[in-house]
């Protein structure tokens, strides 16, 4: 056996950096959140839970929690389900799967900020191709399909599409309107995230032994849906748990699209936590409230991850 002291030199830099860069900041954020400290101030005063009290009672911060929750609750399930559907579709194709895979993965790779701007123009009320596509379709097939006129309970004279056409092409200002902004931001989030989930699911699907499907067929599970319920879904349990956790953590951290497109508006409907930390602490120099938001933010993420670990150990192993 060797008896050199080399290991000390090997692990020391990593330990020191972990303490300074990752662990100490946790305590720093925790500490500052109980004070009235602002960057540049000489004095620090203890204010106890005041910052947290503000966070859960002031309108702005309540809206922040709503916006963050809405974003996460919408983007996570949809992008996970879309990822799964895309993976299963690709897996059953005879040819061409690789092309779709590349295309669907592009948004994951591309600089999100640039793509946010590209979406801004695509959805622009006067310059964008989306609204011009809609305007050109008034009274035609597009109106029938997108106006949901094919649903029995939708009155074709009252559908959103028809009303917009009748009112001089009054289609939504997607990112500027209170009732559409957060959904548009969610849409961009889903657009960006589902390709990543798809690739993880594709990897998960290759791990399912063919024999299981044959066995399921023997047992009478003939239809695709029955086989999915009996084999695919349970076998993908660990993948799903992993995908959901990762997507949730990433989704919580949404910032780029908000900062460049909406700045948290209109009327704080897209005011998510990361943007709130940035705006309060950096732009308005309200460091202590920013620290309080940071603490809540990290608490959310830690709880989530512990929950995931717990579930992994208990359940998902079939």
């Amino acid at each position: 056996m060797h008896n050199s002291k080399a290991h000390i030199w090997f692990i020391a830099p990593a330990i020191i950096l972990m303490i300074i860069i990752l662990i100490f900041p946790l305590f720093l954020a925790g500490g500052i959140s109980f004070t009235d400290y602002n960057l540049g101030n000489k004095s620090i005063g203890w204010v106890g839970l005041e910052n947290y009290d503000k966070m859960f009672n002031r309108k702005t911060y309540v809206k922040m929690i709503w916006a963050t929750a809405t974003y996460v609750i919408v983007v996570v399930p949809i992008s996970v389900v879309l990822g799964l559907c895309a993976a299963m579709l690709l897996n059953s194709l005879r040819f061409g799967a690789d092309i779709y895979k590349t295309i669907f993965f592009l948004p994951v790779m591309a600089t999100l900020l640039a793509m946010a701007i590209a979406w801004e123009f695509t959805l622009h009320p006067t310059l964008g191709i989306v609204n011009s596509f809609l305007a050109n379709g008034c009274g035609g097939v597009r109106e029938f399909i997108l106006g949901l006129h094919w649903l029995p309970w939708v009155d074709s004279q009252q559908s959103w599409y028809h009303v917009a056409c009748a009112n001089n092409m009054d289609f939504p200002y997607w990112l500027k309107q209170k009732n559409t902004a957060i959904w548009t931001i969610c849409f961009i989030g889903i657009w960006q995230a589902f390709g990543f989930n798809m690739v993880l699911y594709l990897a998960g699907l290759t791990g399912i032994p063919r024999e299981l499907y044959h066995a399921a067929e023997m047992d009478g599970a003939k239809s695709t849906w029955e086989q999915f319920k009996l084999v695919t879904w349970p076998m993908l349990g660990p993948t799903t748990l992993f995908v959901v956790t990762i997507t949730t953590i990433r989704t919580f951290q949404v910032f780029d699209t908000i900062e460049i497109l909406t700045k948290g508006g209109p009327s704080k409907t897209t005011y998510v936590m990361m943007y709130a930390i940035f705006e309060k602490a950096i732009q308005q120099n309200l460091t202590s409230i920013g620290a309080a938001i940071t603490v809540v933010f990290i608490a959310f993420i830690l709880i989530l991850t512990f929950f995931q670990r717990y579930v992994i150990e208990r359940r998902v192993h079939y």
């Binding site: 056996m1 591309a110 590209a118 801004e120 310059l127």
Partner: protein
């Protein structure tokens, strides 16, 4: 049965093609705008590339260039003027400097540590490893504010150090490399020791070469993440254009969305976005592997 299968297959392609169009829509918009003239953009005409009529561009003349220089085809003008207006090569350079420094330091720190955790027996090893596992849970973006405060107190805001320092430790890198080193047979290391190699040489001359595949995946993950990162540079770089990374550059190009010409703006954005996308298309398999394998972060 045959026909039924064909119908099923066509259905699937139909759905996937609609999806692909939706996914590609902003890419199309971006490229198309970077090629067309202002009038064509505003009237949403000209398809993907526009008519490409030679014309004189008023904004260019107003900026002080001669009429001759300003008379050209829209796509040439857009890209030429983009480079005239902003130091794009500088932004790209900064992107390269920052992402590569981060990656190199991450490896310098993580590799020896991973080796020690996987192959050396010493007092406190389990503790160090559990520390790594704990740190794995901390999202660096989440602790951005305290990190910013520390850097501000140290007077490091608006420097390269501010862009690089917080990312020098990649616990994920340590974890990944350790898992990889566990699979390397002990005999290899023992043989190296027999040959009289010191622990340092073992790390860099024996372990590093065996770790190339894992390292490559990690490199792709790290470079992509930091090349695209906007949040952190936005926090610590306040105004110094010389330090702008590509995403900060993108933000600057967008600047006056109502007054500016869209063509050159989109041309700059395309220029900054393209390198990574091209790299991805060339080395797709590796990229998908790298990003998903390390997606655990």
């Amino acid at each position: 049965m045959q026909t039924k299968e064909y119908i099923g297959e066509s259905w699937k392609h139909g759905i996937l093609i609609v999806g692909a169009i939706l996914v590609l829509l902003p890419f199309y918009m971006m490229v198309s705008m970077s090629l067309k003239s202002q009038q064509e953009i505003q009237s949403i005409s000209g398809g993907l590339i526009g008519a490409q009529e030679v014309q004189t561009f008023p904004v260019c003349v107003k900026t002080g260039y001669s009429e001759e220089t300003c008379t050209t085809k829209p796509y040439i003008y857009n890209y030429w003027f983009a480079f005239e207006k902003a130091p794009i090569p500088r932004y790209l350079m900064n992107g390269v400097i920052v992402t590569f420094s981060i990656f190199i330091i991450q490896v310098l720190v993580a590799l020896p540590c991973a080796y020690a955790l996987a192959k050396l027996r010493f007092y406190g090893r389990e503790f160090v490893f559990s520390m790594v596992l704990f740190c794995l849970l901390i999202p660096v973006h989440g602790i951005a504010l305290p990190l910013y405060i520390m850097l501000a107190q140290a007077g490091l805001v608006d420097t390269y150090s501010a862009l690089i320092l917080p990312w020098t430790i990649s616990v994920f890198g340590i974890f990944l490399m350790r898992q990889f080193f566990m699979t390397v047979p002990d005999e290899l290391i023992d043989a190296a020791r027999m040959d009289g190699m010191g622990e340092y040489s073992i790390v860099w001359k024996v372990m590093l070469p065996t770790a190339i595949p894992a390292l490559l995946a990690f490199a792709i993950f790290s470079v992509v993440a930091h090349w695209n990162d906007y949040f952190w540079p936005r926090m610590v770089i306040t105004g110094n254009r010389d330090l702008f990374t590509p995403p900060l550059g993108i933000r600057e190009f967008r600047g006056g969305i109502d007054s500016d010409e869209f063509g050159p703006m989109m041309a700059s954005i395309v220029t900054v976005t393209v390198p990574l996308i091209v790299a991805f298309i060339i080395a797709q398999k590796r990229f998908i592997e790298g990003i998903t394998l390390t997606g655990m972060k």
